[in-house]
């Protein structure tokens, strides 16, 4: 694969600010969820992606409505960016009827076909064959839409990963596989579960390119993704992009994460994707105090509104436990 040029895919100031907004919104959403769990208002199913937002923003930014994403447990932001509004999203976490699952789920096991969002089961890796199936339909239609499929480095050890990437490779499907390598699968560090440094090299076994990049640099992620998307749309098949990152919180909000050191966490917090990007934007005069304040209040208002909406939304009723099983 040719090296990624950060400047190859140009972004306007407006677009850069939009990216910034998403970074802030997604961070705020997850942070709020973390509090809501502690308050007992959201009961479970919360796996925050705090610290990993650059991956979601860099990969989802600029996608078409028709493009499909296959997000994972930490990728709530991907659903927001792909068009699920904050109220619906928050309702989902509150298990209210106004959520995607009508109260049957408070995690990300739901999707919206009209928005190009697939909702996976909990089974890690199981979204990847589905992504291959979605990609296969684009191939059948000779359309230039694409699929972005996410997985953790831990999930790259599951059989489904292998079967899916192999099929994508041999069929040259328009899929970009995004590995969110946050170093840990729950409590287990990468080196205890695979004898390689970069998940990216697994792509070679399937006949396409893999590249490992800084997953905390939203522009690096964006540039790499755009390159891969261009190839996919042009019929040149899949790419695997491994984004090195770190999750700040525990595996779930109940996990105290004693398995890692404070130093390690501190080191990664110093690589927080948001201040890095803020500095970049300020240096380029895209962002100033005024704009920052505007964006921050918009974010806050959106979250407040979503929480208020979800809190007062109707609970499901007992019949919903057995309905919608069959069409």
């Amino acid at each position: 694969m040719p090296p990624i040029k950060r400047t190859k895919f140009k972004l306007t100031s407006e677009q850069l600010l939009e990216m910034f907004y998403w970074l802030k919104l997604i961070r705020a959403f997850d942070e709020r969820l973390s509090i809501l769990v502690k308050q007992g208002k959201v009961r479970s199913g919360v796996y925050t992606g705090i610290g990993q937002e650059a991956i979601i923003v860099g990969t989802c930014f600029g996608l078409r409505r028709e493009d499909f994403i296959c997000p994972l447990h930490r990728d709530l932001g991907a659903l927001l960016m792909k068009g699920v509004d904050a109220r619906t999203m928050m309702s989902q976490m509150f298990a209210k009827t106004t959520g995607l699952s009508k109260g049957r789920d408070s995690a990300l096991h739901s999707g919206v076909n009209e928005l190009g969002i697939f909702g996976n089961t909990s089974m890690l890796g199981a979204n990847l064959p589905v992504a291959a199936g979605l990609g296969y339909t684009f191939k059948m239609e000779k359309s230039d839409n694409v699929v972005i499929a996410y997985f953790g480095e831990g999930a790259s050890n599951v059989g489904d990963f292998h079967e899916a990437l192999n099929f994508a490779g041999v069929q040259q499907l328009p899929i970009v596989f995004i590995c969110e390598n946050n170093q840990y699968a729950y409590s287990v560090p990468l080196e205890k579960t695979m004898a390689i440094d970069d998940v990216a090299i697994r792509a070679e076994g399937y006949g396409f390119d893999g590249v490992a990049i800084n997953g905390n640099d939203v522009l690096a992620v964006y540039q790499a993704t755009q390159g891969a998307l261009a190839r996919a749309r042009g019929g040149d098949g899949p790419t695997l992009i491994e984004c090195k990152t770190y999750r700040w919180h525990g595996h779930s909000e109940h996990d105290k994460a004693f398995y890692r050191t404070d130093e390690e966490l501190a080191m990664w917090k110093s690589r927080d994707p948001i201040p890095t990007f803020t500095t970049y934007l300020r240096a380029r005069h895209v962002l100033d105090d005024q704009k920052l304040k505007e964006i921050e209040s918009k974010v806050e208002a959106t979250i407040e509104d979503a929480v208020e909406f979800a809190s007062s939304a109707p609970d499901p009723s007992p019949e919903d436990a057995v309905s919608d099983l069959y069409a």
Partner: protein, 327 residues
């Protein structure tokens, strides 16, 4: 209507007709392409519909199901072939956790119109891994439909219904019947509705419920009993989930006696559920206990001596019928 097809040809014709009717229908599986499938079911399809709609997949049962689910989310109606039903264990998770739950967790906003074809059953010298009857695992899973035709007519009609159905359907086609069962088939848009049993023989003394390859020995046993003055009503379930409780109950109201015959092993085969339901709802009508003739709780051995010892046959079925009639 005078055309006669074998069971296998009927399946093939259903596939071809549905593929002609609806460009969203496609088939995938191992060796289903130019080779035409391990049993020849898909012969000719590749020639007519080409690479894209008749997909030779890698050996990847989990992916085959997952790909089907993915394609279904974009409106396609994939028909996946497991080379033998026995290998469905390798695609198990995608069927029971991904396909069966999707509509429910999507809040009823999506459908999963996939068919998984699974050549099942013994009496063909297949041994442990080419003779299994894995239907009960799926009957136990809400969100799925399960069918198991016993005639060429139903093989075609049920497959067409399954393809048109908006829910995931596991379609068990019995290998013993492939070339042995022959008969007329539905034409045009006629389908055999899912969920409706067929009465193959009228009778007022004992009700016998069976399906698949067990229909032949069941009907033979019924003929024998007729000579002994016992009229057996023989019901072909055809659909195993949801099974046609009403048809069974209607017959029971005449006979007050019920035998279930299954090629599946006894413990927790479908006979258990039918017996339990009859117990719950028809206890007062029963003149005798519901009985089961089933495969013993073991694995299908290769040796024809051993397999012969295991398979229910007209003798063992007739013996059970006599016991019931005399009760």
């Amino acid at each position: 209507m005078s055309k006669e097809l074998s069971y296998l040809e009927a399946i093939r014709e259903a596939l071809a007709e549905e593929m002609r009717r609806d460009p969203k229908v496609f088939v995938l599986g191992e060796d289903v392409g130019p080779y035409g499938g391990a049993f020849g079911v898909t012969q000719g399809l590749h020639e007519e519909f080409g690479d894209l709609r008749v997909v030779d997949t890698p050996i990847s049962e989990s992916a085959i199901v997952g790909i089907s689910i993915g394609a279904s989310q974009r409106g396609y109606r994939p028909v996946a072939e497991m080379q033998f039903a026995d290998f469905i264990s390798c695609g198990f998770d995608q069927i029971v956790n991904q396909a069966a739950t999707l509509r429910f967790r999507y809040g009823g906003r999506a459908t999963v119109p996939i068919v998984v074809r699974a050549p099942s059953g013994g009496n063909v010298g297949g041994g442990l891994y080419h003779s299994q009857n894995p239907e009960a695992w799926f009957i136990h899973r809400p969100g799925l439909k399960v069918v198991a035709p016993s005639t060429a007519f139903d093989a075609k009609g049920l497959l067409k219904a399954a393809i048109r159905d908006d829910n995931p359907v596991v379609y068990f086609e019995h290998k013993y019947l492939y070339r042995r069962a022959k008969g007329p088939v539905p034409e045009g848009d006629e389908v055999v509705p899912i969920g409706v049993a067929a009465t193959r023989r009228e009778g007022s003394d004992v009700t016998l419920v069976a399906y698949g390859a067990m229909m032949t020995p069941s009907l033979e046993a019924a003929d024998r009993l007729a000579k002994e003055g016992v009229e057996v009503e023989v019901i072909d379930l055809r659909t195993l989930l949801p099974f046609d409780k009403d048809a069974i109950f209607r017959s029971l109201d005449k006979t007050n006696r019920l035998l279930i015959v299954q090629e599946d092993v006894k413990t927790l085969g479908i006979g258990a559920e039918i017996s339990a339901v009859v117990m719950e709802e028809k206890f007062d009508r029963l003149d005798a206990p519901v009985m089961r003739v089933a495969y013993p709780d073991t694995h299908p051995p290769f040796s024809h001596i051993l397999e012969g010892a295991n398979l229910p046959n007209a003798d063992t079925i007739a013996a059970a019928l006599r016991k019931l009639a005399a009760y």
